[in-house]
Symmetry: C2
C-alpha cells in the first residue's frame, strides 16, 4: 500500500483486504459483503408524470433557440452524456465544465459537479436559464408550454391543478430522470451470484480497484456520487477550466477543488472523463487517478484489468420510446435562435 495514501483511504483499503482475500477463491454470493451494491430497477409510481417529464426532457422549446433540449447534453443514446469535453450551448457557447451523465443521477448526494443543486428537481431548472446553455428564462419556458393545449392537458392530469408553473416543469423532468437507472450490468449479475458473469481479468481488476483505494470514493450502488472529494489528493491536478469545485458553493477554503465524485456506472459510455473532460479514455483516466489521488503508478497490465472491470459496470440502458412532442399552437411564441 502506498504510504502517501490519506488515512481514510488507507483504512478503507485495509478493511477491504479481507474481502479481497475471499475473492481469489471465487466471487461472493452475497452482494451486501461488497462495497458496491447492485442497481435496483426503477419503480414508476406516477406514469403520467414520467411520460410528461420524458417529453419535456426531449423538448427543445425549453430553450431560447428551440434547438437545445435536456437530451442534447444528456443524450440517452450516449450514456446520458454528450461525449464532449465541455458542452455546446446557445449560440455555440463553449461550456465551462463536462456534462455529467443523467443515468443513475438520482443516487447522487447532490447535483452538478459542485453540488449546488440539492436534488434533480433543483438541477433541472439550471440549464434552462443559464445564458451559456439553453439561454431561456423560466417564465418564457412556462409561457411556451402553457400555449400548447396538449401540454396543458398533460400537466393538469399529472398535477391536478392549474396553471403550469416552473416547479411542475422541473418536478416532471426530475420524476422522469429518476427512472433512468441501469440495472443488471455484468458486474451486478456477478454481485448477486452469477459466478461466470465476469472473466478472471475483470475480477482481478475489481480486486485492484478495491485494494488500491479507488473504492474509498467510488462505492455504493452508483460506484460514486455519494461524496465530495478533492481532485488531486497526492499531486495537484492541472485543471483546464478554472473550476473551483465545492468552494464555489460554500466559500470555504477547505472545499477548494472538491468535486462530487462521479458515478462509474456506464463509465464505458460517458467519456471523456473528469470535470474538465481532459481524459479521453479509461486508460488515461485510471492512470491519472492512480497518480494524483493514490500516488500510484499502475502497470499497463494492472491498468488494463481495472479498465476491464470498469466496463462490466455498463448496465441495461433505459429502453425508451422516442416521445412525440405536441405541436405548438398559433399562439406559441416562436424560437429565436439568431437574434443575438
Amino acid at each position: 500500500m502506498n504510504t502517501r495514501l490519506p488515512p481514510l483511504m488507507k483504512a478503507v483499503a485495509a478493511a477491504l483486504a479481507t474481502s479481497a482475500a475471499l475473492l481469489v477463491t471465487g466471487p461472493l454470493q452475497a452482494a451486501d459483503k461488497e462495497p458496491i451494491s447492485p442497481i435496483k430497477p426503477a419503480k414508476v409510481t406516477n406514469p403520467a408524470m414520467v411520460e410528461l417529464g420524458k417529453k419535456l426532457f426531449f423538448d427543445p422549446r425549453l430553450s431560447r433557440s428551440g434547438f437545445i433540449s435536456c437530451n442534447s447534453c444528456h443524450n440517452l443514446s450516449m450514456g446520458g452524456s454528450d461525449n464532449l469535453k465541455t458542452s455546446i450551448g446557445h449560440n455555440w457557447h463553449k461550456g465551462s465544465i463536462n456534462s455529467p451523465t443523467v443515468l443513475n443521477s438520482s443516487m447522487n448526494l447532490a447535483q452538478f459537479w459542485d453540488g449546488r443543486a440539492k436534488d434533480l428537481q433543483a438541477q433541472a431548472g439550471g440549464p434552462i436559464d443559464n445564458p451559456g446553455e439553453m439561454a431561456f428564462t423560466h417564465e418564457l419556458a412556462v409561457n411556451i408550454l402553457t400555449s400548447i393545449p396538449a401540454y396543458r392537458t398533460e400537466f393538469k392530469n399529472a398535477f391536478k391543478k392549474e396553471p403550469i408553473d416552473i416547479d411542475q416543469v422541473t418536478l416532471a423532468i426530475a420524476t422522469f430522470e429518476e427512472t433512468l437507472v441501469t440495472p443488471n450490468s455484468r458486474f451486478d449479475q456477478w454481485l448477486v451470484g452469477k459466478t461466470n458473469a465476469l472473466s478472471k481479468d475483470e475480477i482481478a481488476g475489481y480486486q485492484l480497484f478495491k485494494n488500491s483505494g479507488c473504492v474509498s470514493c467510488h462505492n455504493g450502488p452508483a460506484v460514486g456520487g455519494n461524496s465530495f472529494q478533492k481532485m488531486g489528493v497526492v499531486e495537484p491536478y492541472k485543471d483546464t477550466t478554472g473550476a473551483q469545485g465545492r468552494f464555489a458553493v460554500t466559500g470555504k477554503d477547505a472545499d477548494r477543488f472538491n468535486f462530487k465524485v462521479p458515478t462509474l456506472r456506464n463509465v464505458e459510455l460517458t467519456y471523456p472523463y473528469f470535470h474538465d473532460g481532459a481524459a479521453d479514455t479509461l486508460t488515461q483516466a485510471v492512470t491519472t487517478m492512480g497518480r494524483i489521488q493514490l500516488g500510484r503508478t499502475f502497470t499497463a497490465d494492472e491498468n488494463a484489468k481495472i479498465v476491464a472491470f470498469l466496463k462490466t459496470l455498463t448496465g441495461e440502458q433505459p429502453k425508451l420510446t422516442l416521445p412525440i412532442l405536441p405541436p405548438s399552437s398559433d399562439n406559441t411564441p416562436r424560437p429565436k435562435p439568431f437574434d443575438n
Copy 2:
C-alpha cells in the same frame, strides 16, 4: 373559378368538380376516386440495415462537432423537422433554407427543395460534408465509424463486405428513412371508408382544397412531393433567403424559383412553412398560397376549414425505440466542436 388560374390548375379543378359533387352526399368509399391516396405502412425487408441506419441517423459523431446528427434538424419527435425557419448548423451557422420533413420523404420525386439529390441515399451524404451543417467530410465520418468495433460488426452484417464506405453509410440511413411513413391519419381512415373519421368542417375544407386548385400540386399519397412548381404563380413571392429553386440545378431560366412541392402529410407538425420558413402558422400559409398561387382570397371561414382538413393529414408517427449508440474506442478520433 378564378380566371387567372394557370391552364393546368383550371383543368384539374374542373375535373375534380365531379368528385366534389359526390362528396356532398357523403364520403367516397373507394380511395382510388380521390386525388389523394392513403399512405401504406412501411415494409421492412432488411431489418439489420434499418437498425443500423437508425443508429447512424441519431449519431452526432457523423458531424465535426460530435453534436449534430440527422435527427437534430429532422427531429423525429417533431414531425421529422426542427420547427425552425432555417436550421442551426456547425458553429451556430444560420442555414439558408427550411429543413423539410424526413417523414414520407421516400415518396418525393427528388430530395432537397431544388431536387438536386435524386433519392434519399444521394441526399444523406449532403449535410455531412456541408460546412454550414455537419461540417465534416465523408472520409472522416467513415474513419470514425470504422474505429468503433460494434459499428464494424453491424456494417458487416448488413452489407456482407468490408471495409465500411460512405455509400454503405448513406444507404443504411436511406433504408431507415424509407421506414419513416405515417399511415392511418384520420383523412386516410376516411378515404378508405370510415365515414365518421372527419367532421363536416373538415370535409368542407377538403372540398375547398380540391375546388380551389390546391390539389393540382398537392396530390398523391404524400399530398405533394411529386412535382416542381413555381413559388408565386399569380403574384411574386417575397422570398427572404435568396434561394433560386430548381434553377440552381438546371441553369434554365424557366426553372427560376421552382421548388419541390412539399408534402402536406403531418403539416400540423412541420411548421414553419415554405422554403424560407416565413409562414409560422397554417392560417398564414393558406392565406399566402391562396393569394400567390391561386389568386384567391379565402374568407376566414374558408381558411379555417382548409386548416381543419390539413390537420387531418397527421398520421401515426413512427414508433421508435431510442437507439443506444456503440461507444467510441480508444482509437476513435475525438470531435472538435471549437477548433474554428
